[in-house]
């Protein structure tokens, strides 16, 4: 198994596990804000936040990554999603402080969901790198 060159990742906690997003996709870590809701039918979407004049959808990926027993989320990690015609911020509720780390990604072992793009090894800890676009798409299709 060969490691890719080192890159910067934002490591975010969900319960006892940590996951990672490429740092260049992360805009900010925000404190709990006023979540606003309105009727819709899209799974995972908890509502929207207003951040710096933008309306940011809140996508609760913990339901996919951990299941229904995910602990309460404390912060919002705001990441950019790149669509076909435009990019968009999406807030992901996380359960604690995030960490910026420069690590080498290795390919995922065995059969993993399509949203897992690789793994990071930080000491004894193995951290799953996720593709946010694919992660959200998984739930949208199901």
């Amino acid at each position: 198994m060969s490691a890719a060159p080192e890159r910067s990742y934002v490591l975010f906690p969900l319960g006892k596990k940590r996951f990672a997003l490429p740092a260049e996709t992360v805009a900010e870590l925000a404190r709990p804000d006023h979540l606003q809701t309105f009727p819709h039918r899209t799974p995972l979407l908890a509502g929207v936040l207003v951040r710096r004049g933008r309306i940011v959808p809140v996508c609760d990926v913990a339901q996919v990554l951990l299941g229904p027993d995910a602990p309460p989320r404390k912060f919002y990690l705001i990441a950019q999603r790149q669509g076909e015609s435009r990019q968009e911020w999406t807030a992901i509720p996380v359960t604690g402080e995030c960490e910026l780390a420069t690590l080498a990604q290795v390919p995922p072992e065995g059969t993993q969901p399509a949203y897992v793009t690789g793994m990071l090894e930080a000491g004894d800890e193995t951290i799953t790198v996720v593709d946010l676009e694919k992660l959200i798409a998984v739930e949208a299709k199901s």
């Binding site: 309105f38 009727p39 819709h40 899209t42 940011v56 959808p57 999603r81 015609s85």
Partner: protein, 167 residues
């Protein structure tokens, strides 16, 4: 590349009517509403077939020689509860919307595109999102309440009903 969710859409500076259904606040273009009235005069639809299959439709309203098909906002938005009290009669359409209450008219300075993270029915329900007094309010797409095809089906059903009752 600009984030288009931040950009006002063309024609976004407009008057809207704020209304509530099931505890949620919505907006609808003021220019699309001809009249706001109470629920008096609503006639429950008691027919079978295509009309009955339109779950969102509960009533018709006869007004000034015209028949309006009344879409129940609670059913349309799949809400658990509502307390209907007002009817918004649309202009240029035989459609009305049954809502809980109307709040007020206001101007919105920008219509934000619905974030593309929203992928389901809401993409047709809403023209976009507005921020009113710091609160995000979806702006209802009045054209999608009852499609042209649905209107045709309803008109045909209504004509059949009248033919039967005239015999």
């Amino acid at each position: 590349m600009k984030d288009q969710s931040q950009l006002p859409q063309p024609g976004s500076h407009e008057g809207v009517i704020l209304f509530t259904v099931g505890g949620f606040k919505f907006a609808i273009a003021a220019g699309s509403v001809k009249e706001i009235r109470g629920t008096g005069g609503l006639q429950e639809i008691k027919v079978k077939g295509n009309v009955a299959q339109m779950e969102k439709l509960r009533f018709i309203l006869e007004r000034d020689g015209a028949t309006y098909f009344v879409v129940d906002a609670q059913r349309y938005f799949h809400l658990a509860k509502s307390a209907p009290g007002r009817v918004l009669i649309l202009s240029d359409s035989p459609t009305a919307l049954l809502v809980d209450s109307t709040d007020r008219m206001t101007d919105i300075s920008a219509l934000h595109a619905l974030p593309r993270a929203f992928t389901q029915e809401e993409r047709s329900w809403y023209r976009g999102l507005a921020v009113v007094d710091g609160e995000v309010v979806p702006v209802v797409n009045h054209d999608s309440l009852l499609s042209k095809g649905e209107q045709e089906v309803l008109r045909a059903g209504l004509d059949r009903l009248r033919d039967v009752s005239a015999v």
